[in-house]
């Protein structure tokens, strides 16, 4: 049957572009809220296509900071230890409500650029969403090192990517330009903080918004398309 181009346009998935980092507690929580928002739409949920874009929150993070999150923030930001602990306790509680078991005492602070390169490799091989979830879990739940090529290759293999190809991509830095292009695009859009969601190229959603905000915005876009 011949399909009219307009039909293809109307039924194409709603694109959800997300700028986020791995070392970003609210990005993982926001991811869960988005997923819950989509789940809440049930049978009415339109098809969506999710794409993650790289954002480096703290470019001057050392590759291997040997210390706790409390020490990192207290030393780096000059915040009182007690205040940092209260802050982390709050985030841990919100994460738990989203079904995430954060362990800040295990978190290994590091630069995330190599992990972003691997996310681009995964995108090129159809596994970006799986790897994003794996890296966030590694960072916030398991205390994994997300800057070391050996460990990154292991995460890649766990989500079904070819380990040798992943290693070659990381060692060659083939996706480094793609990572920087994402970061530059965020700057051009005026995105200073993450997570930042763009629905259908039109609507911007900043922060780890409640699930309802995502479901309502996606429903609105679907309704506009159908109108």
């Amino acid at each position: 049957m011949h399909m009219h181009p307009l039909h293809v346009l109307v039924t194409s998935p709603i694109k959800i572009d997300i700028w986020s980092d791995i070392a970003c507690p609210w990005c993982y929580i926001g991811k869960r809220h988005l997923e819950a928002g989509l789940e809440a739409l049930g049978a009415d949920a339109p098809d969506v296509e999710i794409e993650y874009h790289s954002f480096e929150l703290s470019p001057d993070t050392p590759l291997d900071f040997e210390g706790s999150t409390v020490e990192y923030l207290a030393d780096r930001k000059g915040m009182p230890v007690e205040r940092v602990e209260q802050m982390l306790e709050h985030v841990t509680g919100v994460a738990a409500n989203a079904g995430l078991e954060y362990h800040f005492e295990k978190v290994a602070h590091t630069k995330t650029l190599k992990a972003h390169e691997l996310l681009h490799f995964a995108k090129a091989n159809g596994k970006q969403l799986e790897l994003k979830e794996r890296l966030l879990k590694a960072y916030f739940v398991e205390g994994g090192r997300v800057n070391r090529i050996d460990e990154l290759v292991g995460f890649a293999e766990e989500v079904g990517l070819d380990g040798a190809a992943a290693r070659e991509a990381l060692e060659s830095g083939r996706y480094a330009d793609g990572v920087q292009a994402d970061i530059a695009q965020a700057g051009a859009y005026g995105i200073n903080g993450v997570p930042f969601f763009v629905i259908d190229g039109k609507y911007g959603i900043s922060g780890a918004q409640p699930a309802e905000v995502f479901s309502q915005a996606i429903s609105q876009v679907a309704g506009e398309r159908a109108a």
């Binding site: 609210w26 929150l57 780096r76 993450v194 997570p195 609507y203 959603i205 900043s206 780890a208 309502q216």
Partner: protein, 45 residues
């Protein structure tokens, strides 16, 4: 929760944003640099 406000201009960077910002919950947290906070407040939490 009421319908999301799809017409309101957003937080600090609305002028630079090509998007129509969904205001949603103004207390939703974002991260910038090493810290995460509610937009418009002191970056401390």
């Amino acid at each position: 929760m009421s319908e999301p406000d799809l017409t309101a201009e957003s937080v600090a960077d609305a002028a630079a944003s090509p998007f129509t910002m969904v205001m949603g919950d103004p207390a939703a947290m974002v991260c910038e640099g090493d810290v995460c906070f509610v937009p418009g407040t002191e970056p401390a939490e």
